[in-house]
Amino acid sequence: MSTCETVRDAIYQATALLDDQKWNDWLSMCDESFQYSITSWSPEINYNMTYLAASKKDMHHLVDLLPKHNTDHSPLHRHTSVYSVTPSDDGKTAKAVSSVLIFQNMLDGTNSHIDAGESRLFLIGRYIDTLQVEDGKATFLSRELKLDNRRLDKGSHWPL
């Protein structure tokens, strides 16, 4: 498989693991130095905002403590399309840009008798990923989810 194909596969596999809420399996696709962030440009305040920034260790704390928190359990469904994969000159890493739409399949976040079962568009944005490619295996070094949304309603406790 080419580097580009390996990277693309890894991004789609990560999408499936996140959709299935297999947080630890997703994190096992990430290097120890992994950095995760959710960002958004705000024309309102004219500022490049960071909504969440976390290391791999931070992400482990975050998912480990989920059972202690009161959470909207409406499943999220990500539709990812990899737009570009750009390998580095030495071929050891690659940068990938993907479009992502995140739908929320309503369960308990609003009025479940009325809304449960309905799917709503929750967020749109782009994944900007850096991956390491070694022996035909891609590992995430960083992921930035650059959101277009600044209206986030109830937000989320989950990795996106």
Partner: protein, 416 residues
């Protein structure tokens, strides 16, 4: 007591007057309209922060009680507010959320606010400076002096927030909110602040339910983070203090942020004049919240959209002088619990949405209890009692029976 039948469910609770309210205050369309008219059109609202319009000719648009507002910074560095309404045929003069008038627009010249519709132009003081084909159409019957913008009361205060009041005759901002701000005035005014976070939520709930959540800390039981970093003797001794005009202040204590796995002390980046890891909360009538947790300031502003629909705008602020690294640390502290993907805000929003589900227009009027008495400390509900006493006066409605006039009620919570 066992579960109750309808009569028991609707019976007056064994509490004092003022210790419960009727849920119609959250569900009634008429009350929502009256609140816009009698409260929001007469109250000071921090519509944005001056760092959002940092250069001359920068602007921000917003609204209060459906009235569109534009805030802009003049070449003299003064921040002014106007109705964002063209005096000609009512077009919204500026459609963007923010920007600069320094450059020209398709319909108009640089350094002017231009209404795109027929090209009337206004300067940063709101004076009309150009009417297209003025003489041809109006001869000497109407001139530019007759069609200036509607200027609004505007003050930049309490840490650089831009406050607007739609009522020309309202008391000044200092007499409206100066006293509750006393506890943080030195910290907020030591040096310029800057907004680093903005997002909004639209939730199917009444705006007062959001403000109630900001006014009562009994719900810390809902937040794992607050239980592990907070619940100790100093926490339970925190005072809830009532101020004139329906405002309250929740006093401080030292939070142990590092008790939550993976979180850290905020001591190294405390706001000026603030001892390490302190936590102050100022809740202003009718729905504005300032929350300073050591290193980061949060401000919530509500815009009621219906009896059961509320927009909340969230801002996070640090010091303008922050190094890049310090700013990132502040942002992380802010986001850990207050960000849209943080631990507490999501829980608060689920909470008020759940209340919105049970109290929507047409649901049965029932009791909402505000009756905890704990010597005006943190889990006392005196903050909400104080708020609804004020609310009753503004609307001349009794919160426990909103179809009756307020006049009947004595000042239940005056002592608080």
């Amino acid at each position: 007591m066992a579960a109750r039948n309808h009569d028991q469910w609707m019976a007056t609770p064994p509490l004092q007057k003022g210790e419960w309210i009727d849920s119609r205050v959250y569900t009634d369309y008429q009350i929502f309209e009256e609140e816009n008219e009698k409260i929001f059109k007469n109250a000071w609202v921090p519509v944005c922060h001056e760092s959002e319009l940092s250069k001359p000719y920068d602007f921000r648009t917003t609204s209060i009680a459906r009235e569109p507002i534009i805030v802009c910074r003049g070449p003299d560095n003064q921040v002014r507010a106007f109705l964002n309404v063209c005096p000609h045929r009512g077009m919204m003069i500026e459609r963007r959320p923010s920007g600069s008038f320094f450059e020209g627009q398709p319909s108009g010249n640089p350094k002017r606010m231009t209404c795109m519709f027929h090209g009337w132009q206004f300067d940063m003081k709101g004076s009309c400076v150009y009417v297209s084909r003025e003489k041809e159409g109006y001869q000497d019957r109407l001139c530019k002096d007759d069609v200036g913008l509607r200027r609004l009361r505007c003050e930049v205060k309490f840490g650089g927030f831009v406050w607007v009041n739609l009522n020309d005759k309202a008391p000044d901002l200092e007499s409206w909110a100066g006293k509750p701000f006393e506890c943080l005035r030195k910290s907020l005014e030591a040096e310029p602040l800057e907004v680093f976070h903005y997002h909004k939520a639209i939730v199917d709930t009444n705006y007062k339910l959001w403000h109630d959540t900001n006014c009562e800390f009994y719900h810390d039981f809902m937040h794992y983070h607050n239980r592990v970093t907070g619940f100790n003797d100093a926490y339970f001794a925190r005072k809830n203090e009532a101020f004139d005009n329906g405002h309250i202040v929740v006093g401080t204590f030292e939070v142990n942020y590092d008790k939550y796995e993976g979180f850290e002390s905020r001591a190294s980046l405390s706001f000026p004049h603030l001892p390490p890891n302190q936590w102050y909360m100022i809740d202003l009538f009718p729905g504005i919240n300032f929350n300073l947790r050591g290193s980061a300031l949060r401000c919530d502003v509500v815009t009621p959209l219906g009896p059961n629909k509320t927009m909340i705008e969230f801002r996070g602020l640090g010091l303008k002088s922050d190094s890049k690294e310090d700013r990132m640390t502040r942002i992380n502290h802010h986001n850990s619990i207050w960000g849209p993907f943080g631990r507490n805000l999501h829980e608060d929003l689920i909470g008020v949405q759940g209340q919105g589900n049970t109290m929507m227009p047409g649901t049965e009027p029932r009791r909402v209890l505000h009756g905890r008495q704990e010597n005006q400390t943190i889990h006392d509900e005196n903050g909400m009692r104080h708020y609804y006493d004020e609310w009753g006066k503004w609307l001349n409605r009794l919160p426990s029976s909103p179809d009756k006039p307020y006049a009947a009620a004595s000042a239940v919570t005056a002592a608080e």
